[in-house]
Symmetry: D2
Subunit: 304 residues, 4 copies
């Protein structure tokens, strides 16, 4: 567990990078965010949370929600029911590409590219009466913050610009790998993506990944084996086309979102969340990645 | 460090899998190997080596040599000289595919697919007077076994069937990413691949990956940071198209070869080598992968 | 203009091929067609029509409708308005592939693959108040057969199995190359495809392609230059992945449909339509292609 | 047959386009050509040749030689021996791409992309004692010009920059679709490409394509059916990625070379050769294509 002062040093170190990336602007609701933000929070396996910078300011979690979706699916389905519909390998292609999905007959490479996350959302839709509500409930519980909500304006805006994701879902449907109504699943999917959380919330929420599946409140969300497997998937596929570079520089299983957040864990030790809205060319937070890299160097810790 | 009895249990557990895979047969010299072999050796960071099954029987290390090639290159070149010519990302394609190399203008995705390993071999050729000899010398030193040699019959046979690798090298040359004579580099490359070692040799030779860069003899081959980076690359790209599945099942950075060997490490703890010639559909040792999976489960250890 | 006896010889020659192909079965409404059918009709530029075999039996024109869609678009839009949204090159990929559309940023290769035909349907939707009615009206006029209708059961069945086409349309929408509501355009598109005509109707309807743009009733539908251009597009892209083989064997600009129809012309001479429901592996009528090949050989005519 | 004055009008019409294209510069020997050249020659089926502009100035025929290679192969092999090793379909990819060759297991799409032409060169190498000499002999005979030679400086320069073509040949060899020594075949291939001819020579040499296989000297080189098939292949695949556009604008089967030459025929009528060194973005002569387009418009002739 790092000292608070160390987190503040990390923030100071990477603050000069602000201005070098580009805020996601594919929907107006995201483009309006203040780019000059940088926050970091760490929750250790003993349950303590500390933070620095803008770590209490909420942001759109976007693709970080894919971690919670897969976790929820793992609690609802047998393993083979999931892995017969989505793979476990890095994609080697852009996060929203249809090429791989077509060439591999409707089977997405992994649950963290859009195609895979849409299959997971399809699975949740099939088995949950109110998937949007259930997801909020899960995340509120994990972060011990009952006030968390999804940003309806962002969700609506995502839905209005959802042609690419609709194309992916229909393509999988044409291969028999998508069962529910496309629009309904997209609505749920964008609802998950539009949940607003701050770094402290997120570092608490993902503590189970650092703690053999045990949550902040002591409940067991995933088994130790499932947790290890989830971390393995995050390490190989969690950062889109930048997974190799992220492992090389940071050395922690992690997941990024276009809202500028990145979560990462050192199993047995701590859960981290950084946030800075400007993205690098792979779509990952530029200052956020640098902060995680600096944190690992200062702590001399990584999984490698 | 596992007990010897535990290694023997692992071997007994996976022996029934023999017969389910397929020995590499693209060259006659490899096709003739006895398929009913399974060996495992572990070298701990304290320098002790134990083994079970056929762990003293030498085999062709094949692509495991790519780890030593990259290591040697890291000792000869500045980091940017290497990473401007080869990437760090999983390829998402077959190990010997030219598609990605063409689409990405001659830059291989990572140093462990064939294209990337050929670029590394080209780098070694440029800076070493006698690269084949230097590689043998390195590996002999790392494993404290001065009798190690390259199998000239295998190397010659590889060279005779080298059309695909020649195509890859010429394609990179057409993009300006290959500098030496193609045939000369291929000769060296196949020489590296044809080195014969047993599991004990290999577990000793890669100890530096588990030990922050420090070799069995106490010398520092890579820096701690370089070692961490190497392990990160192995975790994301070391097992071809099966890197995600391997991380999911085994949870150790590793590298496989078509000779049936796999090396893997738990940083700070131990280096492992398994060998069983029959391969799964991704070209990784079938029983060897199962042995590593079983070892991790019995030890309750993984990097995740 | 061939003699009637010659057409009958052609039909007799290829009849033994019945049973070697496979009727399209992606929708039940098409799968039910009697496979043992073979018909041919020729309309010469002097307006005479003759036919042999099942040339008076109506069938689903399917992709042959793409010829009429493009023709209609050419009468409604400036040339640059069309060719800025769809290319003129052979695709080199399956007729319903999304790969090329993604790699080329939403621009379909030509108007005869599904993606291109959907863009044309989108153009028609934008400028016509009642596109389905207008299309029927056009085709009724061209073939001098006011009783032609679209098969509502086939159209509905196509729409129910439209996931792949929906994926293509949404993908183009994501690149800004699709303007109308996807479902609305798909409804129109399937309506065009589901029009039922017989060989005689079709050979009359396409006479303008053999006659410098002049229709059976003497009206000028396309200019001579537009007609020449349309024939050029049909020659290079009219038969999906089999355009080269079709040119090699038959040597006429043509267009096929999965209903088993093929239209083809010898400019300045005659318009031909063949029909036989069983398809070859490229999705073109097997006996129909053979009939056109035989016809060209007997007449000693082709464009080459 | 056009009047000489008409050819001169064509040259005058397109001369203002000089300066808008780009001379091929991948080898120094080609880059040095004077860009301000435009020539056209027509040989009619009655044997008369007329020309305008720089039609008597020799240039490097480059890929136009692929027409003669395939013709020679057709005289040496059974049809199935050729078409089992190379396809007949447009490639949809760049002329020197390896992607399609790998995805389709070593089978090139057609004989006019580089991969296909190399397979044809491999076939010639296998059956001819002195293929370079035999090719020169053929072309000298066809154009009734015994002084034609290959430019040794260009051929040597091509060979020095042959990495991409070597990659293609080795890739096909890895799939078992290339039998002779790669360097030997490349030497022959570049020799064919480096033959120097002028527009008059070329329009005479290809007369057989306009004349049912009968050459200028009355001998029968190909059968009428083979000639028709060759023209079909040229129409669908003769202009690389620009075959569709060329058919749309010009409407003649044709073949281009990076030296700036284009040959084209109207079967039963005439053979044409244009030359202007500056290329468009598809690698076809910019002013040359425009000249053919203008010629067809003035004559009101095309195959469509």
């Amino acid at each position: 567990m790092p000292e608070l002062a160390l987190l503040e040093q990390v923030v100071d170190k990477v603050r000069p990078l602000l201005g070098q990336g580009k805020v996601a602007d594919y929907i107006p609701a995201l483009a309006g965010v203040d780019p000059n933000k940088i926050g970091i929070a760490v929750t250790s396996v003993d349950g303590t949370t500390i933070g620095a910078g803008d770590y209490l300011e909420p942001f759109s979690i976007q693709s970080i929600s894919k971690v919670f979706s897969l976790t929820l699916a793992l609690t609802l389905y047998e393993e083979h029911e999931i892995w017969s519909r989505v793979g476990k390998e890095p994609s080697g292609q852009s996060f929203n590409s249809l090429v791989q999905v077509e060439l591999e007959h409707g089977l997405p490479r992994n649950p963290f590219i859009n195609a895979g996350a849409l299959v997971i959302a399809d699975l949740l839709q099939a088995r949950l009466g109110a998937p949007k509500h259930r997801m909020l409930e899960l995340i509120r519980g994990l972060s011990a913050n009952p006030s968390l909500v999804s940003d309806k304006i962002v969700a609506a805006s995502e839905f209005e610009h959802s042609a690419r994701n609709a194309a992916i879902a229909y393509l999988m449907k044409s291969f028999g790998n998508f069962n529910n109504d496309v629009d309904t699943v997209l609505q749920s999917y964008f609802h998950y993506c539009s949940i607003r959380m701050n770094c402290a919330d997120l570092s608490k929420a993902i503590l189970y990944l650092a703690n053999k599946g045990t949550c902040l409140d002591g409940s067991q969300l995933l088994s130790p084996v499932q947790t290890r497997q989830m971390n393995a998937l995050l390490a190989t596929s969690g950062l889109y086309d930048g997974a190799g570079e992220f492992a090389y520089r940071v050395g922690m299983p992690g997941k990024s979102g276009v809202g500028g957040g990145i979560i990462a864990v050192i199993p047995g030790d701590m859960a981290v969340c950084v946030w800075s809205p400007e993205l690098d060319r792979n779509g990952n937070s530029l200052a956020g990645t640098a902060a995680l890299e600096d944190l690992c160097q200062r702590l001399g810790r990584s999984i490698f």
